[in-house]
Symmetry: C2
Subunit: 217 residues, 2 copies
């Protein structure tokens, strides 16, 4: 394809191609040259104009992946007329119900073969999502009486670590039965922490996503 005159489209093109290659071959086994080869007429210089290194491309890919999901989190966090507890439930429900989840689970990265992606996911999961989105919701829940805890920051981290890493079929390749047991234990953990927000519908959707991922492998 011809070189694009619009820099933001060039960037998106680089990210689309890089994302597919990282997922297919693994970040470590994808070279800048591989990315160039899949970009048609785009030169090495054009890539380096936008990204200094492969690692910078990875970070941009990763940022773009989380951007859409973060928009959902912002909308719920800043919504009026819901208690903190209702917001927490809404976040789980809407996160797993987004149609784009099917697509992400079909693209099926395997984080086992991508230590850098995994480290980046783990870091973002703990350092970004909880403080920016979940802690404020838990603090609202403490204020409105719908959530009880003395440690909102840490509770936010624990919930997100368990939901986004442990229950993520892209990180741990579980059988359908094993995944179901995880969802049940997560539900019990949440109940034990006074957060009875995981319902049957969510458990069924989680099962569905796990199946989509496993079938596409």
């Amino acid at each position: 394809m011809a070189r694009n005159k619009h820099p933001e489209e060039t960037v998106n093109l680089i990210l689309d191609v890089s994302y597919r290659l990282f997922m297919k071959k693994g970040y470590e086994h994808t070279s800048i040259q591989d990315i160039i080869s899949h970009l048609g007429g785009l030169s090495k210089g054009a890539i380096y104009h936008h990204f200094k290194s492969k690692e910078e491309i990875l970070m941009a890919v990763s940022d773009r992946m989380t951007e859409e999901s973060n928009q959902l989190l912002v909308r719920i966090r800043d919504c009026k007329g819901m208690t903190g507890r209702e917001k927490l439930k809404a976040i789980f429900k809407e996160s797993i119900n987004r149609p784009v989840q099917d697509e992400i689970f079909t693209a099926a990265p395997n984080f086992h073969n991508n230590p850098k992606l995994l480290a980046s996911l783990l870091n973002d999961t703990i350092k970004e999502v909880p403080p920016v989105y979940i802690t404020p919701i838990i603090e609202q829940g403490i204020a409105d009486g719908s959530i009880q805890t003395d440690y909102p920051e840490q509770l936010a981290e624990l919930i997100i670590l368990v939901a986004n890493i442990w229950m993520n079929p892209m990180v741990f390749e579980d059988t359908r039965e094993h995944a179901y047991g995880k969802f049940q234990v997560f539900r019990q953990m949440m109940q034990g922490l006074g957060l009875d927000i995981v319902d049957e519908e969510m458990l069924e959707r989680l099962q569905e996503l796990t199946s989509i991922y496993q079938e596409k492998k």
Copy 2:
């Protein structure tokens, strides 16, 4: 130093030197040549005789690190005259009380700069420790009535993920106050799951280990 006539001593020497370099410079920034330079008279051929790649050295370093800790887990798992619940408590207590923990925490690897080490830790943490050591103890607890769960495998994974990854100051660099909140939330999580096994003494020791790590950084 002169080349060692005993292969197992040569291997241990390579692992000692590699461990220190990985911790100091990061796995990615340590070359086989760096390792050779710190081995005195040992030749490149002597290293390759034992390890095919840097990654093989990493795996051996990692295995050796967990070996001692696994001996403790075996001893408690196979001990007679304790309930499953008592064994679970003993594992936490003894794991954090081992004097070697001070040394490990002083060596202070930062997993953030070592994605491969982090991925390996995460994998071992979930794929090895729970099925081999923790699940059998929980199953014993179900049988003797001291633990209630329908999902022993998943409960084992959750506990180990939270204790060994989330609460590990080498993975997440927390302030002392933040770490304390994590320990409290862990305690609540365990209580909520019917496992009231974390006591004040353990919380104090966890605080101590966090301080040792932070002071040596």
